[in-house]
């Protein structure tokens, strides 16, 4: 009985110590990435290659999802708004919800599952096949050569992807609302423009997506770098990347929204 309680307490202690140790390790890894990022700007071609695999290859899923999210917003928004006789406010609804919330958040979730998982799997496999150790043997810093360019590519791509998601989402809303259902074209755009403020809505959305980009890429890189060098280890790390970064995106979104849009 007494031993059972002791074991239970010991279990709690071990998991807390492990969690704090992992957090410290992750912070140290993040700092090392930032310190070693000189190479990714001096040899910018490295970063460009990574922008191709994280940004350009995510384009299709981002654009198609954005279009459909915008179209669904148009349909559902119209259904609700026309009950109150204010179907003209559809443009405002679609644009504000995309620019403020859905654009950055959904684009970041897609980015985490499309690009984040790929980054983790790639770096985890590099570690498992001892490519990272081989680089160290050749006096090449794997963090500067492999990790940092991926980090900056992710941070750079994310806001652009979110902006494209929002823009094509607004177009999808326009397609359904104006072309298909027949909301007045002028009212759709003018009410949208009256309600959406560049600094308050658009720029805050960009800041959000930048923060999400940093969070997702850092988590993906750390999980890959920290993965046990086995097949199961890499698969577990990839799963953890998607789960952790999705949760972090949603939690961060709440915090950022509370700071940005409170009291307005």
């Amino acid at each position: 009985m007494f031993n059972g309680v002791l074991d239970w307490l010991r279990g709690i202690g071990a998991s807390v110590i492990n969690g704090v140790w992992r957090l410290g390790y992750a912070s140290r890894f993040f700092m090392l990435t930032l310190l070693g990022s000189g190479t990714s700007f001096r040899r910018f071609q490295l970063t460009i290659n990574e922008i191709y695999s994280t940004g350009v290859l995510s384009l299709i899923i981002i654009l198609v999802s954005g279009l459909f999210v915008g179209m669904v917003l148009g349909l559902q928004g119209y259904e609700t708004l026309q009950r109150y006789g204010s179907a003209e406010a559809l443009g405002t609804l679609v644009a504000l919800s995309l620019v403020r919330e859905l654009g950055p958040v959904v684009a970041a979730l897609l980015f985490a599952s499309r690009a984040g998982s790929a980054i983790t799997a790639e770096i985890g496999l590099m570690k498992a096949t001892e490519q990272l150790s081989a680089m160290e043997m050749m006096a090449v810093d794997p963090i500067a050569r492999v990790v940092a360019p991926r980090f900056w590519a992710g941070v750079f791509s994310m806001p652009l992807l979110a902006a494209m998601f929002s823009a094509i989402g607004v177009f999808g809303g326009y397609l359904v609302g104006v072309v298909l259902i027949g909301v007045d074209n002028g009212a759709f755009w003018s009410q949208m423009q009256a309600a959406v403020d560049f600094r308050h809505d658009v720029l805050n959305g960009v800041i959000k997506s930048l923060v999400f980009g940093i969070a997702v890429t850092a988590i993906a890189l750390f999980e890959g770098y920290d993965a046990p060098p086995t097949a199961e280890g890499v698969s577990g790390a990839t799963t953890r990347t998607v789960v952790t970064s999705s949760l972090v995106i949603l939690a961060l979104d709440f915090v950022l929204t509370a700071f940005m849009f409170r009291g307005v």
């Binding site: 071609q45 940004g55 607004v170 423009q193 658009v202």
Partner: protein
């Protein structure tokens, strides 16, 4: 993949991203119409501001000329103090009057400016003297009912004959 094709794709990606941002700024947002930020500030005191909020538009003759920047409560006069930024392009006479109006029946509230005839213009930090409070729907209904009741007062006397 060949290096130049890859660079081309990244170039297209970046250009498309920047174009999307531009579309959001110009077509979706209000960057093209009213660019606020460099304007002059004026204050106005109101008995009641109703549902006016910060960032509400300031309109004159229906055209947006500025935005409400802050709403505070004046503890000496027990009135609401509304600070608004008006664009430099729009100069108003010193005896301009401000009133709080509602767009549509249930729409958002905004500050309406009605230009006066003074030759001196409003400057940064000036305050507008002539103000008219928001119309509160409850008060309006109350007044209407009160008026109706007063109207109906003599009737029972006449009917009792």
């Amino acid at each position: 993949m060949e290096k130049t094709t890859l660079d081309l794709w990244v170039g297209i990606f970046v250009a498309a991203g920047l174009a999307a941002l531009l579309v959001l700024a110009l077509k979706v947002g209000n960057m093209s119409s009213v660019n606020l930020g460099d304007g002059y500030q004026v204050q106005a005191q109101f008995d009641n501001i109703g549902g006016l909020k910060a960032r509400a538009p300031v309109k004159s003759a229906g055209v947006v000329v500025g935005r409400v920047t802050a709403i505070t409560f004046d503890t000496e006069r027990f009135e609401a103090k509304v600070t608004m930024t008006v664009d430099h392009r729009f100069q108003f006479p010193k005896d301009t009057s401000a009133s709080i109006m509602t767009s549509g029946l249930l729409g958002e509230q905004y500050v309406g400016l009605e230009a006066g005839a003074d030759s001196v213009k409003l400057k940064d930090g000036d305050s507008i003297k002539l103000t008219q409070s928001a119309v509160v729907l409850e008060n309006l209904i109350g007044q209407f009912l009160y008026g109706k009741a007063a109207e109906g007062q003599p009737k029972p006397n006449g009917a009792s004959k």
